[in-house]
Amino acid sequence: MSERRRRRWTAWIVLAPFFLFGLAFELLPMLTLVRSSFTTAAGWSLGNFSRAFTPVMIDSFRNSLQLSAVTALLGVIGGTAVAYAIVTSRRRVVRDTLTALADVTANFGGAPLAFAFIITLGSTGVVTLLLKAAGISLYPHFRIYSVSGLAIAYVYFQLPLMILLIVPALLGLKPEWREAATNLGATRLQYWLRVGLPVLAPSLLGSFLLLFANAFGAYATAWTLTGPDVNLVTVQIAALVRGEVQLDPALADALALVSLGVMGVCVVGYRWLATRPWRAAP
């Protein structure tokens, strides 16, 4: 018994470096933020949070939440449409090439992507000039260096991610279900409303949450495209990291903790939806 126990104990030793690393660079840094955001001179308190929510910060959360919700929704709708067009395509070349494109572009992002959009849709951008020649003036009504411009750049990385996430679920829709529905007299709309969407619902919702988190935590794209002009949570936190942390560290920590909470809800929700046992639609 004691021999077995000793062996079990030594078995854990091999895992020690990994857990120590996780502790040192993942858990302790986060716990530092938790502790410091709940601590004021008077002891444990929520004071930092009430102080953190100045009008500017509330505005940054509103912008970030809106941008994430809109681009996640566009990503889910557009990505599902494209993924459906891909998986139902009869030509293998089309399926393989477009899946590969989604695979590759899902890795594009951040600074180079933001810059590609400046070249494409900036004030003297390639497409801007093209549209102007066609009689459509984007500027000054639209600016790529604004929240709506940022949304376009975000959709660029949301779309391929959505395609990769939803293709397996779409492949899980059995053709037999559709045949059965048709045999029972269902229209296409009825099939989608009563069979297709209910089966896909958990995947769609889970993907929405992941895309939401993906946009909410993004910083490099926003910084390259709009600098400090667009007020987002990540831009605010980065500004505090670069400069004002020394002045009011607890403030930045409180903000970081709230955004961590938003991200946590999304990722936990996604995992729950992705790993829960699959149930057939009743």
């Binding site: 990994f18 660079f25 840094p29 494209v82 600074a111 492949l171 936190i237 980065a238 942390v245």
Partner: protein, 269 residues
């Protein structure tokens, strides 16, 4: 039937245009003499490529990024491979905890990770702040999901238990089994994870900017600096970034063959 084919064609054409136009525009822009007042470039030149690659900062930042990418891959492989193997084989009870550590980075914005690291390590007597070492550590954390998932998939696919028993019945020790038997068998998973890690690190801006900034300039930092004052030279740098990400993805696809496998992907933005 024709109506359905038309619908598919429109959706796919719009998708292709949206995904490809910004990339092709950037490539073309980087070899254009001028392309900000006419519909088509006013002639082509390699001047911007020559100018931007001739700077010493170009090679420095490129080497910095390659070094940080390679170091991150090395640390991650050394840390995650034995752990995933051992947990898979001997300590299944540890798996949920490892999984937890490997999932948390999905919900960890770069700015928050940077803030946490700075706040914690400025309070302990370790000379890590502002060094490339802390950047590598942060990257290992950030990319844990990319390394862990393919490894576990590979371990599950090759029946690591039978292989281990076979190796040990022939007298192999623990490390010998891992390095000589298991590793060659799960190599596709290791390479797949490494490529994802490398391409993520190579393009990462947020952590590099906040953790080391100008003290150890990486390629994305150099790129962002250029976008502020010379668009044409910056476009050449953006093309290099895209090509590296594209090569890594192609290698992964090539290694994966034609199998349709779901993968967890969430590069740093």
């Amino acid at each position: 039937m024709r109506g359905r084919a038309a619908w598919r064609f429109v959706v796919l054409a719009l998708f292709l245009a949206f995904m490809l136009v910004p990339l092709l525009a950037t490539v073309l822009f980087s070899v254009s003499i001028r392309w900000d007042r006419s519909l088509w470039p006013e002639g082509f030149t390699l001047r911007w490529w020559q100018a931007v690659t001739a700077r010493s900062a170009f090679l420095d930042t490129l080497l910095h990024s390659l070094a940080v990418g390679a170091a991150t891959v090395a640390v991650s492989v050394a840390l995650v491979t034995p752990t995933a193997y051992w947990a898979h084989l001997r300590v299944p009870r540890a798996k949920p905890w490892i999984e937890l550590l490997a999932i948390v980075p999905f919900g960890l914005p770069g700015v928050v990770l940077a803030l946490g690291l700075i706040r914690f390590y400025s309070g302990v007597p370790l000379p890590l702040i502002n060094t490339p070492a802390i950047l590598v550590a942060a990257y290992v954390v950030l990319t844990l999901p990319f390394m862990y998932r393919p490894l576990v998939n590979a371990l599950e696919a090759v029946d690591a238990r039978t292989l281990t028993e076979a190796a040990q019945s022939l007298g192999a020790g623990g490390w010998q089994t891992l390095l000589r038997v298991i590793l060659p068998n799960i190599l596709p998973g290791v390479v797949n994870g490494s490529l994802l890690v490398f391409s993520t690190v190579f393009a990462e801006f947020t952590l590099a900017n906040l953790l080391v900034g100008t003290r150890f300039k990486t390629f994305p930092i150099y790129l962002v600096e250029f976008t502020r004052f010379d668009a044409r030279q910056a476009s050449a740098l953006a093309v290099i970034s895209f090509v590296v990400a594209w090569l890594a993805s192609l290698l992964i696809l090539w290694l994966a063959g034609r199998g349709d496998r779901p993968r967890e992907t969430l590069a740093a933005r």
